[in-house]
Structures are given as structure tokens and as C-alpha cells.
Amino acid sequence: MARTVWDSTVGKKTVMAVSGIVMLLYLVAHMIGNLKIFFGAGEFNHYAHWLRTVGEPFMHEEWTLWIVRVVLVVAVIAHAVSAYQLSRRDLRARPDKYVHKKARTSYATRTMRWGGVILALFIVWHLLDLTTGTVHSGGFETGKPYQNVVDTFSTWYGNVIYIVAMLAVGLHIRHGFWSAAQTLGVGSRTRDRALKTIAHALALLLTAGFLAVPVGVMTGVVS
């Protein structure tokens, strides 16, 4: 069965849909967690520390965190590999372009591929910036995420990279969520309006929720 799924374009799309939903659920949790920055350094740092102790005493320190990380890495790789293979196939299937050009698909649909590449690059920067601190602007301190976030959003490039990526994630979700529903066969004529509304709402909510943090730092609400 695994072979049937992976060898088929419809199967690869299923892999994309499922891995996309996994990442989407993570983003919702991530966004909610981020908002704690508006309640002060104490609460935010405490929340960040809690992420390492979730599940104790059943789980050892950071076990839950590492399980989440492994699931996410698998989801990102599955999503990216199937997207790459499907895109190669799509481009091969239409080698000759029409002389009379007409762009009709929505902006969100047209930017799925490059938007995805932008997001992949963003994730690398984001991890190097706020998880490992390798490319962090100020003096990165483990266990002081509040200060680290403020440092990042005190630089112009930190803000630019983040804002571009969050707009990209909104567009990606807008088309991606609705598409995943079609791929998994849950869409229908009667549900179409509801699914599109949920896709728009999710995209808007996540983009706004994530952008609240850099905006908060820029306006001095968070400092």
C-alpha cells in the first residue's frame, strides 16, 4: 500500500496534505505560545521552560519536545520532497508555454512553490536565530527567550525577514488548507464555502498572531 501511495500523484498529494495539516496544527500552538510575550518576561520565559518539562514525571526532561521536533522534521521533509517531485512532474507535463499569456489563478495559488521555498529558508534562519543562537544579533542567552526575541526584532533585517515569511505563511495556508481538504476527499459542494472561510480565517489569524510579536517590539509594547 505504501508503494501505491508514494508512486501515485494522488498519493503524493495525500502525503502533502497530511504533513501540511500536522505543521498547521503546530503553527496554531506556536502562535498561541508566542502571544505570552505580551504578559511579561516572567510568564514568557516560564512558558518556554515548561516546553522542556511537558509530560514530567512520565517523560524525562525535553523528551516531549524532542518527539515534537522529530514529528515536525518528518512532516517538513515529507512535505518538501513530495512538493519537489510533484513540481518537477508538473513542469515536465507542460513544457511548452502558451504564446498568449494569461494569469488567472489566484496569487496564493501561484505563489505556493516559491512561497514554500521562502518558508523553508525562513525555518533555517529562525532556528539558527532563536533556537541555537548561531546567527543571533545580540548576545544570545539560553533560557532567556524573552530578551532574545526582543533583540531579534530590534534589528531591521529581523523584522523584514519575519514579516515577509509570515505573509508567505498566510498565503500558503490560504490555498493549502482548502487544497488539503480536496485532496483528502472531505470537500464537497455544500462544504466548499465553509472550507474556504476556515482557510481564510486560519491564514488571517496565524499571520496576525505571529506578526503581533515584531509589531509589539517595534512599537515598544514589548521591550
Partner: protein
């Protein structure tokens, strides 16, 4: 009407093609697009030139033989087949671009004619039902609920013209294949091959080199028969169901 035509000319499958410009005069707004091309071809023949090759058959919008991407739209600006498109949809003095369907699974044979036999092979893979031959069976022998019959008929309207592939930015044949799958899978007559049909037809579709679906929705907009985009969702649902069942066996 006087029109400027820019038509894709290509001697054969191996030759390089290019857009050639022609002027046609004396076109009536009541002519169909194909009649306008007939007029052009008559002039070309009189001049001793090679007429423009294009596919056509019934010329009443039911056979699916005509094609043509007109000004970037499969079957032109109206939601119908090229044979049912009339010149009143254009203005006097317009420049009109006429191109063949573009997809690697639909190679150009000559000028505007493409080879659509990939569709035939998708049908051969599962677009049929197993039924005893002979005289027509009693219509009431197999009851079909009205909503199912309507759904089947909506998908049965597909004439296999290939506009969906031509319009798709990925050259995908998902709308065509899904129309055929849904048409038969919803009916009791199609039930015995319900799983193998969708698995085999999707496999053949991939085999032919069509692209995948990115839900751009261009296919359903171009379809002269109004096959809805949700048809693809229905096929995905059938494919997942069949895959789960095949895994259990």
C-alpha cells in the same frame, strides 16, 4: 468583420513551430470559429498554401473533437466548445491568437492538431463496466436513486475534449479522469470495478505523463460541459477508499 489571426503552424510532430499571421476579411458575426477558419483555409488553398490543420467533427458541441486555445483560453472566451463559439464574441479588427492544446501527454501532430490518445488509454484502464452483451436490459431492473443518477449524469457529460488538460498549469488530466471515475463509481452498474477502476485509471493517468493537481481550478473554468472542480475531490475520496481496501486484502 476583418480579423488578424496569429495561428500556430507546425509542419509535423518533429518540426519546430511558430506563430504565423493571417488576415481574414468578410467574416460574418454569425459564423462559428471553425467556419471562420474554413474561410481562412479556402483562401490559403486558392493561394496554393498549406491549409491550417485543426480537429473537428460533429460541430454541434457533443463529440469533443474540436480543441484550440483561443487568446489563451481553451475553447475561447465563451464557456462552450470551439465549434459552438461564434464570431460575435469578437470585435471587428481584433487580433486573435490560436494555439494547440499544450501538454507533453498531448503531442502536436500538425499545426493545431494534437494526439489525445492518452485519454483513450485512461479509458481502457478502467472507464468501462462489465456487462453482458445483447439486447438492452430492462431499465427498471437496477434501480438508481435520483441523486445518484443526477450526479452520474453530470459527470457523464464529459466529452473528453481535453480542455481541462490544456487549461491546467500542470497539464493534469485530473478533471477528465475524475469525471469518468465518478460517472461510473456512483452507479450500481459500476460497483463491481469500483476500486480497481479508480486505482487503474489514476495509475494510467500518471503513466501518460500528465501533471498533478494543484487545485488551481483552471480546468473547471475551461470545461465546456461544466464538470465541477469537486469532481476531483470525489475522485481523491474514491482513490483513498480503494487504497485502504487494497491494503486490507
Amino acid at each position: 468583420m476583418k480579423l488578424n489571426l496569429r495561428v500556430w503552424r507546425q509542419k509535423n510532430a518533429d518540426a519546430d513551430g511558430a506563430m504565423s499571421t493571417y488576415e481574414v476579411d468578410g467574416i460574418s458575426p454569425d459564423m462559428s470559429f471553425l467556419e471562420m477558419l474554413d474561410t481562412l483555409n479556402e483562401e490559403l488553398i486558392l493561394k496554393g498554401e498549406d491549409p491550417v490543420a485543426f480537429d473537428h467533427d460533429c460541430r454541434e458541441g457533443i463529440c469533443g473533437a474540436c480543441s484550440l486555445v483561443i487568446n489563451g483560453d481553451a475553447h475561447g472566451p465563451e464557456r462552450t466548445t470551439t465549434c459552438q463559439l461564434h464570431m460575435r464574441s469578437f470585435e471587428d479588427g481584433d487580433t486573435i491568437d490560436v494555439e494547440p492544446w499544450r501538454a507533453s501527454a498531448f503531442p502536436v501532430v500538425k499545426d493545431l492538431v494534437v494526439d489525445r490518445s492518452a485519454f483513450d488509454r485512461i479509458i481502457q484502464a478502467g472507464g468501462y463496466i462489465t456487462a453482458p452483451t445483447g439486447s438492452a436490459p430492462e431499465a427498471h431492473a437496477t434501480p438508481v436513486p435520483k441523486p445518484d443518477a443526477d450526479l452520474a449524469f453530470e459527470h457523464a457529460e464529459c466529452i473528453g475534449c481535453g480542455a481541462c488538460v490544456a487549461a491546467c498549469p500542470n497539464g493534469a488530466a485530473m478533471l477528465f479522469t475524475s469525471a469518468k471515475v465518478n460517472h461510473l463509481n456512483v452507479l450500481p452498474q459500476g460497483a463491481p470495478e469500483r476500486e480497481t477502476r479508480v486505482l487503474d485509471m489514476v495509475a494510467q493517468m500518471d503513466e501518460e505523463g500528465f501533471g498533478g493537481c494543484t487545485l488551481a481550478g483552471e480546468c473547471a473554468t475551461a470545461c465546456p460541459k461544466g464538470i465541477p472542480l469537486t469532481s476531483i475531490t470525489g475522485m481523491n475520496r474514491e482513490w483513498l477508499r480503494a487504497t485502504r481496501r487494497a491494503g486490507k486484502r
